[in-house]
Amino acid sequence: MRREIGALIALAALLTALEFWLWPAPAHVPPGVTAPFAFVGCVAIVVVAKALGNRWLQEPEDRDE
């Protein structure tokens, strides 16, 4: 898993560098924001959903319809 994450982070860094160096003024998103936003957003969605699920939303599959 570490190697996979390392490779993906390297790819994200390369894309961010491209954003900074090749297109210094993107249309409406500051450079270097998108990939970290996606990572943090992904983690936030999972954490929030799991917390809601464990606390309130999930119940066993054999529930009474």
Binding site: L15, P26, G41, L57, E59, E61, E65
Partner: protein, 555 residues
């Protein structure tokens, strides 16, 4: 000649013929009907109208403009692709219901007046009910009846709103309404069909219970017909902007918890329809074109995703992530074609979701709606997390369950291939294919270096999060409470106290419905919801008429 032949007509005629023809002729007619409808819609120029007077009411059963035409084209297109996908399923009632649903969706998109809209609206609800019941299990039968309950209620709201609107001097022609009394009732009816929370739970309750082919039609029609109606009647309503962003995020949060693959995709219908509702709420020409474009794209890529998931269900007989895994080697074509849909819904370049999603987000950016823009971008992260990573990983890769899937019929793979090709065609050449269909001229260029880079970064950043959290994202043997829990128990409590007369009538109706569906007529709890639906519909109509009478009596 074609301007006098309503495009819904071939579908309804086809449904009637499919009901009586032998198997081989049935397949030919079922394919020819939506294809003919598509040709008719394609040939109808904007501005075509059919007007008549019936019982003193001016009716416009056919009105063609750019907004209705783009929806009608994609409804007919998906109708044809869905029929092709479903040819391997020999059940007569599936094809009849699918053709009626396609015709009703076309009827909604081409309705000129309110009463015509209402008739098609209810026709679509009944056809969808049959498509859900076609799942063939007692569970599907119960979900279909719950679907009918919700949609009869929504339809009653629509009829009450229309009657109120017309009786107070409103125009017979369907058009923008203010959010006053009748407008609020009509908006509520549209919200039910669009699955706007908190009236969203019917969708994920019902769609996964249908057959693989039935779910393809269901995924396309009801919610997108509602998006069309919202765009026609409530463009620029601010409440829709926030309802849309809420939907977009609501769907991706609930999808994290899902174990059933088609229920997971159902939550992503809620999320994607959120983009369209946001576009309608923004109300600018770019936003409305974006909403229509996203509906067009969504019908294709979501149809493809439901085809992919349905093929897995068809071949393995399993539908839960906890029961699936390691299917990539046994089902490589299904896996690849599913991934085309997954990348499309996730906004990957060269596919249609990239173009249409960008139109809606760009419309929000153009209006300086920063929170809307970032909310939709966050929803896009969640979309790729589930449909592009979680579902395919735990279905096609992940732990090998040593499943031996049955062979996939060639018609299923052909339909999936054609749909995937259309996703790529509309995504790669939007200016030549998609933009000319949209209600307003669009000059937006999605393929700029920074935008493509941004889209790829979203995919990569989300993948990092998925790989890191992968162990926590596998399916769990649970179901998720949705907003239906707020009204199911109280509704059951009220309905059980309404007396034996209602229960008796409902029992008779239930027995009739179950007999039609070839079900054993002994499902205990479904009589009450049906009776309750009828009573609720009558009550809503009564309240609306009483309000109307009071309104007219007052000076």
């Amino acid at each position: 000649m074609s301007e006098w032949l309503h495009p819904a007509a071939p579908c309804l005629l086809g449904a009637a013929l499919v009901g009586v023809l032998p198997a081989r002729a049935r397949a030919v007619v079922a394919l020819a009907a939506p294809a003919t409808a598509l040709a008719l819609v394609w040939g109808l120029p904007a501005g075509t109208r059919l007007e008549l007077v019936l019982l003193g009411q001016p009716l416009t059963p056919l009105r063609v403009d750019a907004l209705g035409r783009v929806f009608a084209i994609v409804f007919a297109l998906l109708g044809a692709l869905g029929v092709l996908y479903g040819l391997a399923t020999p059940r007569r009632r599936l094809h009849v219901a699918a053709l009626v649903a396609t015709g009703a969706a076309l009827g909604i998109a081409l309705s000129g007046d309110w009463f015509t809209l209402y008739v098609w609206w209810e026709t679509l609800a009944v056809a969808s009910f049959v498509l859900i019941a076609d799942g063939g299990t007692p569970r599907a039968g119960r979900a279909a009846l719950r679907y009918l309950l919700i949609h009869v209620t929504g339809g009653a709201c629509l009829l009450a709103g229309i009657v109120w609107h017309r009786a107070t001097g409103g125009d017979a022609l369907m058009g923008p309404l203010p959010l006053n009394g009748p407008g609020a009732l009509v908006l509520l009816a549209f919200a039910v069909n669009a699955a706007i929370p908190p009236v969203n739970a019917w969708l994920t309750d019902a769609y996964p219970e249908s057959s693989p082919a039935g779910a393809v039609f269901l995924s396309a029609f009801a919610t997108k017909a509602a998006v069309y109606a919202l765009a026609r009647v409530f463009p620029g309503e601010e409440i829709l902007v926030w309802a849309g962003v809420t939907m977009a995020l609501y769907g991706v949060v609930f999808a994290v918890l899902e174990n059933d693959i088609r229920r997971l995709l159902g939550y992503h219908i809620v999320s994607q329809v959120g983009y369209m509702v946001t576009g309608v709420g923004l109300g600018t020409p770019l936003a409305l074109s974006g909403a229509a474009a996203h509906a067009f794209s969504h019908i294709l890529y979501k149809g493809l995703l439901f085809m992919g998931a349905g093929t897995v269900v068809h071949a393995t007989g399993r539908r839960k992530l906890t029961e699936l895994g390691g299917l990539a080697q046994a089902m490589p074509a299904t896996c690849v074609l599913y991934m085309v849909g997954a990348f499309s819904i996730s906004g990957a370049p060269l596919l249609n979701g990239f173009v249409s999603k960008s139109l809606v987000v760009a419309a929000a950016a153009a209006e300086h709606r920063v929170w809307v823009e970032w909310g939709l971008t966050l929803a896009s992260v969640g979309t790729f997390l589930h449909t592009g990573l979680k579902l395919p990983y735990f279905t096609f890769a992940g732990p090998d369950r040593r499943l031996r899937p049955a062979p996939v019929p060639a018609t299923m793979l052909t339909a999936m291939t054609a749909t995937a090709a259309l996703c790529a065609l509309y995504g790669t050449f939007p200016a030549a294919t998609l933009y000319p269909l949209l209600p307003f001229p669009v000059a937006y260029q999605p393929y700029t270096p920074d935008h493509v880079l941004e889209a790829i970064q979203i995919l990569v950043g989300t993948t990092v999060g998925f790989v890191w959290l992968r162990a926590k994202l596998g399916g769990e043997p649970t179901v998720t409470r949705d907003t239906d829990r707020l009204y199911r128990a109280p509704a059951r409590w009220v309905a059980r106290r309404l007396g034996p007369a209602v229960a008796g009538a409902a029992d008779a109706l239930e027995a009739r419905l179950l007999a039609l569906m070839d079900r054993p007529a002994a499902v205990p709890d479904v009589a009450v919801p049906v009776g309750y639906a009828v009573l609720l519909a009558v009550t809503i109509l009564g309240v609306a008429l009483a309000a109307l009478a009071v309104g007219r009596a007052s000076p």
